[in-house]
């Protein structure tokens, strides 16, 4: 049986189809201003027996395509555990959400927390900061690794942090140093969330922000443990949904 999982996030829509335990399709598009049209386009490209939706857009997908839904929490738990069978903690930083999920030894969710209204320290925060510093988002983490001097960013609010960055630039502070300061600020916030929920290994780092090498290194150093990052960290939720569709 071929099943699909679609994860409709705030920045990107991911679609994974699996058959006999193997990924047969893996697609990613921007969410844009018209997520429905983007879903239509994705749906036209694949065939499947069953589909399960997750992500913040799951409910509109449910009405439009008559598909059942699960939350991102469950989807990521399933997906991360399938890729790393020893996974006990998941850190997922996406476009607008940060989540930490604790799993029991059998893989069930035992506790989770997510930010509830502010997108501080998430993907969109990094995007705004990268743009302010003139970096493409893909290079942002790599550039931050080159920092020499320590710069502190005090604000985690996107708007305030942006003005902080602007004034640091005006003081001729090197932009890679500022970039690292921004990553440090996210690190501290993420660490406190991890400590509240779980730091039991294996810790899997997923979501778009897991592609950022600087944050991965900072987190691994701070925790004294090498975080596991899936090959395709953005696809974990869609993959998890496709797997659950196999069982349901």
């Amino acid at each position: 049986m071929r099943t699909a999982g679609i994860d409709i996030g705030s920045r990107t829509i991911k679609l994974v189809a699996i058959e006999e335990g193997k990924i047969v399709t893996s697609l990613l598009v921007d969410t844009t201003h018209d997520p429905l049209e983007q879903c239509n386009r994705l749906m036209a490209q694949i065939s499947f027996d069953r589909i399960l939706a997750t992500g913040y857009g799951r409910h509109f997908f449910e009405t439009q395509f008559d598909a059942p839904t699960i939350t991102e929490i469950k989807a990521f738990a399933q997906g991360a555990r399938a890729i790393f069978p020893e996974c006990r903690t998941i850190l997922d930083i996406g476009g607008q959400d940060t989540k930490v999920i604790a799993l029991g030894d059998k893989g069930g969710v035992t506790k989770f927390e997510m930010n509830d209204r502010c997108a501080a320290g998430t993907g969109v925060f990094l995007e705004v900061m990268a743009k302010t510093l003139g970096y493409p988002i893909e290079e942002f983490g790599k550039e931050a690794l080159n920092a020499k001097e320590k710069v502190q960013i005090n604000s985690m609010c996107t708007v305030f942090a942006q003005s902080e960055v602007t004034s640091l630039l005006a003081k001729r502070q090197k932009r890679e140093d500022i970039a690292r300061g921004i990553h440090m600020a996210i690190l501290n916030r993420t660490l406190s969330l991890l400590k509240r929920v779980s730091t039991t290994p294996d810790i899997v780092f997923a979501g778009g922000v897991a592609k950022n090498p600087c944050l991965k290194n900072l987190l691994s150093d701070a925790l004294g443990y090498d975080l596991k990052v899936p090959e395709d960290p953005q696809m974990v939720g869609a993959y998890g949904a496709a797997m659950i569709a196999q069982k349901s």
Binding site: Y56, T71, G108, R117
Partner: protein
């Protein structure tokens, strides 16, 4: 049905007619979307639908009529105000508007921005001229249950006479003596306002009326222990909310009739949901009309709320005033005792509350507890930690939610609540 024109009455009460029209339109729509869309509602809820639809109409007209007869209307914000004393002098006790995000601009002129939504709301309602209950009240009674309310009443007093009762913070003998003094002083205040003395006869009746109302609500609560529950959490919450401002005798009769119907449902195994629907206990800050946000999300995510450990719920209905008092003094003592049992988070320590939550979770076979506190409500947000810890020890899943009356976090809350329910289902 032809709607009666209440505008002359509203105008006489000094309401801001234009704003009030908008408020009623929003409320009407919210009620339709949240309440009338529910399936399999008990017929007895039609009474509540009617009361809600006439909350700013017929009920206010009734208040104006009783006032014409020389009876007094006393507005309150809290379950600590002894309704028995008000009833004894033929008065009417009404809960004041505090559950909608309204008049915020006005409220923020006098209050700091990071004030809890409930306080901002009652101030906003008053300053924007949108609550007919406060306009109709002869006296507003506040209480010192938190710093925010305490200081806000000083400001509210500039716009409407506000009498404040001091609530003790501990439960020692000294605190009981303080509270006794407050009850006696409030009795004198009520007598002064009403121009009538409180006697053993009229107080006995007042106690009975208030107890009868609580008994009806206790019966409703007990019926919700059935699996499946015969009534939705939203409907039961509404009953508890309306208890604060409907005519107590008529309300009690209607709720007993509703309970008869629910009893039949339970006998026949009829519920509003399927047997295996996760059962949720809501605990925490009070939910005033029309603050239905969290239970609505819970119940549209495939779960049912089976009890409310809050002021619009168990906290105000759990304890009765002893009815065997012969003298006025006996009765006052009985009132003092009853109100001292309330386990508001303003007390320290407040182990009773933790015990009550654990007991409720067990009695109602709750699969999980959602602890809700209004943002900036320090007593409940602080206590959430101890609640979660105590429930964890018993292996009861707990979700802590902090929110206000706005809807901008509804999407995130839905994800969190759905994920919690996935976890509860296992």
């Amino acid at each position: 049905m032809e709607q009666k024109d209440y505008r002359p009455m509203w105008k006489e009460l000094g309401l801001n007619l234009e704003g009030h029209d908008q408020l009623l339109a929003v409320l009407g729509k919210a009620y339709k979307d949240i309440y009338l869309s529910q399936e399999n509602r008990p017929k007895g809820m039609q009474y509540l639908d009617f009361v809600i639809s006439e909350a700013h109409g017929l009920r206010i007209e009734e208040l104006m009529e009783t006032k014409k007869k020389g009876n007094k209307v006393i507005g309150t914000f809290c379950v600590y105000v002894p309704e028995e004393l008000i009833l004894a002098v033929g008065g009417t006790c009404v809960g004041l508007c505090a559950g909608a995000e309204i008049g915020i601009d006005e409220a923020e002129k006098v209050l700091p921005r990071n004030t809890c939504a409930l306080i901002k709301s009652f101030m906003g309602f008053k300053l924007a001229g949108l609550c007919p209950y406060i306009q109709a009240s002869d006296l507003v009674v506040g209480e010192t249950t938190c710093d925010g309310k305490k200081k806000a009443y000083e400001i509210l007093n500039d716009y409407k006479e506000t009498y404040v009762m001091e609530i003790p913070q501990m439960k020692t003998e000294r605190d009981r003596a303080l509270w006794r003094g407050e009850v006696v002083q409030f009795k004198e205040k009520v007598e002064e306002i009403a121009g009538r003395k409180i006697t053993p006869e009229n107080l006995r009746q007042g106690i009975k009326t208030a107890n009868d109302k609580r008994r009806a609500l206790q019966r409703l609560s007990t019926l919700r222990k059935a699996i499946p529950s015969p009534i939705s959490g939203l409907d039961a919450l509404l009953v508890n909310q309306i208890a604060f401002y409907d005519d107590p005798l008529r309300f009690t009769k209607s709720i007993q009739a509703l309970c008869d119907e629910l009893e039949d449902r339970v006998k026949n195994g009829v519920g509003v949901v399927k047997n295996r629907t996760p059962r949720i206990l809501m605990s925490g800050s009070p939910m005033a009309v029309p603050n239905w946000k969290i239970p609505f999300i819970v119940e549209t995510s495939g779960a049912i709320v089976v009890a409310e450990e809050s002021c619009a719920g168990e906290r105000s209905t759990r304890d009765l005033v002893k009815e065997d008092g012969k003298t006025l003094d006996d009765m006052i003592e009985a009132i003092v005792d009853r109100y001292m049992k309330i386990d508001c988070a303003c007390f320290t320590p407040n182990e009773e509350r933790i015990g009550h939550i654990r007991d409720l979770a067990k009695e109602f076979k709750a699969d999980g507890v959602i602890h809700y506190n209004i943002q900036f409500c320090t007593p409940y947000s602080m206590e959430a930690y101890k609640v979660e810890k105590a429930l964890q020890q018993k292996g009861i899943p707990t979700l802590k939610i902090e929110s206000d009356y706005g809807m901008e976090d509804a999407g995130q809350l839905k994800t969190r609540i759905e994920a919690f329910l996935e976890m509860v289902r296992g």
